[in-house]
Symmetry: C2
Subunit: 318 residues, 2 copies
């Protein structure tokens, strides 16, 4: 059977009702879909509906799709029923490989063969998850950031037996529902965003363990320093724009020696001419011809809006 066009998806099945599965349920409801959420236990329905209602406040503020309604949420503890009419399946069960393998073995039979099954796993590889699935070609990793109903990132990668068109279809679908799919070229422990986040997190844990900084100091440092900048642009472009006319090339030439300093416990790679060139070329592609003045103005405008948004929310919450 041919796969539906992503625009023709009507019914999304979520498997799992924790913070991630529940968060996805809220997201798809807000985008106007019929949502079926499979519960491992009927007792999960109350907390799930609570989570979705809490999320709804922000989702309404951001703007709901036409036809979006909390009434389109259907819960069931019958896995076969949850899967029978799905146009798309998002799986968010606990991070346990044996559990996921057993589940994908069942999903392989229960979910119509042309329907894509995406896993929210944050650390397992699809090659392993799909090992016992009879229809692995339509399975793919699609890892969101918490809360999935607000943060746009979805990191995507197939397993060894995933068909490339599955990844492409799912990326199109996520884009259509307002997400930012990041399609990786290879399976990598922690994917990309978690690796970056984890490096910062482990340095933070070291600092607290050694009495170099408190929890409060770490949170203040990030939220009033690099944090707002990273909401506006990633770390590479942030340094590119902070370095004036010279951009990333100037940054690396000027701060290259600082890569040897004990500014974190993580040792830097050798700044080879190849690495320097990749960084410079990548920033040039992102800048797409915009010069320093244009980029700095755009950054400032976005940053001022972000800082005002945070301030106003804080005032509201107090």
């Amino acid at each position: 059977m041919a796969r539906k066009d992503p625009r023709d998806v009507r019914r999304v099945t979520n498997i799992g009702a924790g913070p991630i599965g529940g968060g996805w349920s809220a997201h798809f409801l807000a985008r106007g879909y019929d949502v079926v959420t499979y519960l491992h236990d009927a007792a999960e329905e109350g907390p799930l509906r609570q989570l979705v209602e809490t999320a709804w406040v922000s989702l309404e503020a951001l703007g709901l799709a036409e036809g979006a309604s909390l009434e389109n949420l259907h819960c069931t503890t019958d896995l076969a029923a949850a899967c029978a009419d799905a146009d798309f399946v998002q799986e968010s069960v606990p991070e346990n490989l044996a559990l996921k393998q057993a589940l994908y073995e069942m999903l392989g039979e229960l979910v119509p063969a042309e329907v894509v099954i995406a896993s929210s796993t944050s650390g397992l590889s699809m090659t392993n998850i799909q090992a016992r699935c009879s229809t692995p070609e339509r399975t793919v990793v699609a890892h969101p950031f918490n809360p999935p109903y607000l943060l746009p990132l979805v990191e995507m990668i197939g397993g060894e037996r995933t068909a490339p068109e599955t990844v492409a279809w799912a990326a199109d679908f996520y884009r259509l529902v307002g997400k930012a799919p990041l399609v990786m070229e290879r399976e990598l422990p922690g994917f990309i965003a978690t690796r970056l986040q984890e490096a910062l997190w482990r340095e933070a844990l070291h600092m607290v363990a050694n009495g170099e900084a408190t929890v409060e100091q770490i949170d203040l440092a990030v939220a009033t320093g690099p944090g707002p900048r990273w909401a506006v642009m990633g770390p590479c472009m942030a340094f590119h724009v902070a370095s004036g006319e010279g951009g990333m090339a100037h940054n690396l030439d000027h701060f290259g020696p600082a890569l040897k300093l004990p500014w974190t416990r993580l040792e830097a790679p050798e700044l080879t001419p190849e690495l320097r060139q990749r960084m410079v070329d990548g920033c040039a592609r992102e800048a797409a011809g915009r010069d320093f003045a244009v980029l700095a103005e755009a950054r400032d405008r976005a940053l001022a809006s972000v800082l005002r948004a945070v301030q106003e929310s804080r005032a509201e919450n107090d």
Copy 2:
């Protein structure tokens, strides 16, 4: 002579007219101060005024203080004249210890003895910078994040010969001018925010060097994933709130084993009972009695505002 009350400061002297010194000039102008900026070379005046005018657009959007005007910016290449009537000095010359030591030897004589001199240094220690200064007790590190006219963070630490009341006075002054001073307990290479940022940055460089991710993927991952969350709250509270009712304790108990996984090249410290307790206690202090539901709602509201701010700025820039 007694030190002025921070509220009675009228004239701020900036030494250095690069992105940081110029950024500070813009910030103090926007807060209504008379600003004298010392230029190493008269030719720096044009670029400095350009930088300040660009910054002014965002500063106006955020709201200027009463009396704030670009006409209050005075430039000079005469260091003695720049220092004579200063109520506060912000030093932002290049990161070269010999240069700073020679400068602080001069400033020790030129700046009235009761006036605080703060260094924007991002990596040098005040103990070293103040080595040849005859009045080291009024010198302190005050490291901003770029752009200094928008990002609130100022990391502060005295040198061995800095008087504690100097640090306290400067922290009060920065708070008064809308900054978020972070007073450190000890001199630490890279201070706090740069250490955290540098860990993420070095992991990013490793990934690009090894062909695991492109510059564009890294920027997309941060700006659509952890970035917006870090604009709203630091990494500790972000995990505390993401972990539901169980908070940081649940996070560490649940993800503790993941600290051993190769999710970044930085090895984590041992998760000892003491470290676990410090993390849990720190988050409890920050939560200040607010439970999960309240914190999650506040986070969502702030996050939705931040995401909308970024989206709207992007639309304007396109």
